[in-house]
């Protein structure tokens, strides 16, 4: 009996790309070699899957097989004294926090949702609001176990000289199956965050706040009203925070709250509703600006409060677009992008702006580089949306920037290659039987 089943329930998080797959969900690491053999024996390619929080096509392998790693979610070793945790790759960051927070420990780096797996987080070398202080998660990986389709198991760490570790951190799952990961944790005194929200009027205000805050605050990020134009172009809310020095060490428990039960019809999300939302958000943020002490979940994971919030964008789904451009040109390039969006009248619910620091990742293909990163969500309106994104592409390319494959679903191959000059060195480490829609579209 085949352990792979045909399923059409695998979607990208942006829900633009839908495809049928052969999927298996093992519960034990000892099943993996057999599954790899079974998947690849009839010439199919294979890809590991996490919790599917990637927006685009990096987690899809249509016509091929996927191995859902979420059943492999056991802690293998945990020593609160040395702050080292080793766990199977399918364990979620949220589940890790439940275990470590009561010990006064925290993840050194966390993305904007806790519903991602350890393996998926390493495969995208995720960054958080503390990139300026801690760099990417890859910098905190002390070791990992990689299983290749030829059946070989590789124990890789920062001291690896073959290049396979560097290729696997941020390697989009293409170097093989990550079986387990060992990470270093950081110490916290409480589960609370001292957070502060500061409104700013224009982009210059953002850059001032960013440079002023990076020393004193562990976490910084800001939200931009990307429909504002003219003098208020780039107005927004700057949010910064740090772990509270005192307070309870209580972990947030369990499942997400209410869930979006259906796809909202497309007309609900139009220019007017997005404009209203942005204005409201800004108003609310200004009203509540100032300092507050809050649990870590609403600070790091505001979107996790609504399960399947991505269904808000309706059946056609959405594109997320995240770029980073070098600091020297960041102000001009960001202004140009915001102008292009305002002109196109295609607002985004979420426009997030943050500066990346210069802490280098060990990963060859890691997305963050020193500069400013802008992340935007666009409801998918077909050609109209794609034209705007192409316009943004040209601004990013000219600025010498790059796009985040985890977010996008349509990076032009040329922009990928110019953004990731190491891609050929990386390609040499790609497992010959592993592939994804993204990798095939890049023409590799």
């Amino acid at each position: 009996m085949s352990r792979f089943q045909e399923t059409d329930s695998i979607l990208s998080w942006g829900r633009v790309v839908r495809a049928s797959h052969m999927a298996a969900r093992p519960a034990w690491r000892d099943e993996l070699p057999g599954l790899l053999t079974e998947a690849t024996s009839d010439g199919r390619s294979v890809l590991a899957l996490g919790l599917g929080r990637s927006y685009g096509e990096t987690g899809l392998n249509p016509g091929g097989a996927v191995i859902d790693m979420t059943g492999l979610d056991r802690i293998i070793a945990f020593d609160p004294e040395s702050r080292i945790l080793r766990a199977e790759a399918g364990l979620s960051l949220g589940a890790i926090l439940e275990v470590i927070v009561p010990h006064g420990l925290f993840l050194p780096v966390t993305p904007g949702t806790r519903f991602v797996t350890l393996g998926g987080a390493v495969a995208n070398d995720v960054h958080g609001k503390n990139h300026h202080a801690h760099g990417t998660l890859g910098r905190w990986v002390r070791g990992l176990g990689l299983l290749r389709s030829d059946g070989t198991r590789h124990l890789l760490g920062p001291d690896d000289t073959t290049g396979l570790f560097a290729a696997t951190i941020g390697g989009l799952g293409l170097t093989g199956l990550i079986e387990w990961v060992e990470i270093e944790l950081i110490q916290i005194a409480s589960a609370m965050i001292d957070a502060e929200t500061v409104p700013f009027e224009g982009l210059d205000g953002f850059f001032e706040l960013a440079s002023e805050s990076s020393e004193a605050f562990d976490y910084t990020v800001s939200w931009i009203d990307c429909l504002a134009s003219g003098p208020s172009l780039g107005r927004g809310l700057f949010s910064r925070g740090r772990h509270s020095p005192a307070g309870p060490l209580r972990a947030a428990m369990g499942a997400p709250g209410p869930s979006m039960p259906i796809d909202l019809p497309g007309f609900v999300l139009n220019a007017a509703s997005i404009r209203a939302f942005n204005a409201l958000y800004l108003w609310n943020g200004r009203r509540r600006s100032g300092t507050s002490r809050m649990p870590y979940t609403p600070f790091f994971y505001p979107l996790d409060a609504i399960g399947n919030w991505n269904r808000m964008y309706g059946r056609r789904g959405m594109y997320q677009y995240q770029s980073v451009v070098p600091l020297a040109v960041a102000a001009d390039a960001t202004r140009a992008m915001l102008q292009a969006i305002a002109e196109a009248g295609q607002g985004s619910f979420l426009a997030v702006l943050k500066t990346f620091g210069d802490k280098a990742s060990p990963g060859l293909m890691s997305f963050p580089q020193p500069g400013t990163t802008l992340a935007l969500d666009f409801p998918n309106r077909g050609d109209e949306t794609l034209r705007l994104l192409a316009r943004l592409d040209s601004i990013v390319a000219e600025a010498g920037g790059r796009l985040y494959p985890a977010k996008d679903g349509r990076i032009p191959p040329a922009l990928f290659r110019s953004g990731y000059p190491d891609w050929e060195r990386f390609a040499a480490h790609v497992d010959p039987h592993v592939s994804s829609l993204f990798w095939r579209r890049m023409g590799a």
Binding site: Q5, E6, I76, A77, V99
Partner: protein, 245 residues
């Protein structure tokens, strides 16, 4: 809280064990595969279990459940809750053609489990407290062509549990059979999981954990299966037999 889990490598058992671990329980994990049990034990310890022990044995091959049980309880220093979670799905088509496969499904899922239930129930009765939760299945509520040998074994277990619960009535100990609907676990890995009624092992585990404290003697997991099975059990055979379920 001292807990014995028979068949600890099953998906539902592991999810339930995590709930106990979070409460800071002492756990004895029993199963056949030493390495897998060890992996679970380490994980549960990290998740908060006070202690975890492992016993490697083939539960379906036990000849003296009472004596083996006494050994488990001694190792744990007593027992508060027991969960019987081991079982096999088997192959219905093969069971139809080959009596050996049918016997295997019945022996593992009914005969051996019944021996454990009786041994544990006797112990709980003599102690006057403690609870036993047995994993049954909605498949035991009405025979269907797809899995009636497995279903028959689970039906037998449910009847046995109901009888013991009757005997326990008004006394201290508790016994409950939890009947999950289709659940995403290793046991069902080869099945096509279409439809909205599939539950996760975590959902079922919540029902199992609660069953050990209150309610009974029958609990469905998730709860809506009680109503679905109520309808299915009362469908007249001429209608039922025309359904593709």
């Amino acid at each position: 809280m001292r807990v014995i889990i028979l068949g600890a490598t099953s998906g539902i058992a592991e999810a339930t064990a995590r709930l106990y671990a979070k409460e800071g329980a002492d756990l004895l994990l029993v199963g056949r595969q030493a390495e897998r049990l060890a992996a679970i034990a380490t994980d549960l310890k990290a998740r908060g279990a006070i202690s975890t022990q492992v016993a490697v044995t083939d539960l379906a091959a036990t000849t003296d459940a009472r004596q083996e049980l006494a050994g488990f309880i001694e190792r744990l220093g007593g027992v508060d809750h027991v969960l019987i979670a081991y079982g096999i799905l088997g192959d219905q088509d093969q069971a139809w053609a080959d009596p050996a496969e049918a016997a295997r499904i019945l022996t593992v899922n009914f005969n051996s489990a019944a021996a454990w239930i009786l041994a544990i129930a006797d112990r709980l009765e003599r102690k006057g407290r403690g609870s036993l939760v047995v994993l049954g299945s909605v498949a035991g509520d009405r025979g269907r062509r797809a899995n009636f040998v497995y279903g028959a074994a689970k039906a037998g277990l449910a009847t046995l549990v109901e009888g013991v619960a009757h005997r326990f009535a008004g006394k201290g100990p508790r016994i409950v059979v939890v009947k999950p609907g289709p659940t995403v676990t290793a046991m069902t890995a080869g099945m096509v999981r279409k439809g909205p009624l599939w539950a996760s092992a975590e959902q079922v585990a919540l029902v199992v954990r609660r069953a050990a404290d209150r309610g009974g003697p029958v609990a469905y997991a998730p709860w809506f299966w009680r109503y679905i099975m109520l309808i299915i059990r009362f469908l007249p055979a001429p209608i039922f037999n025309r359904l593709e379920i």
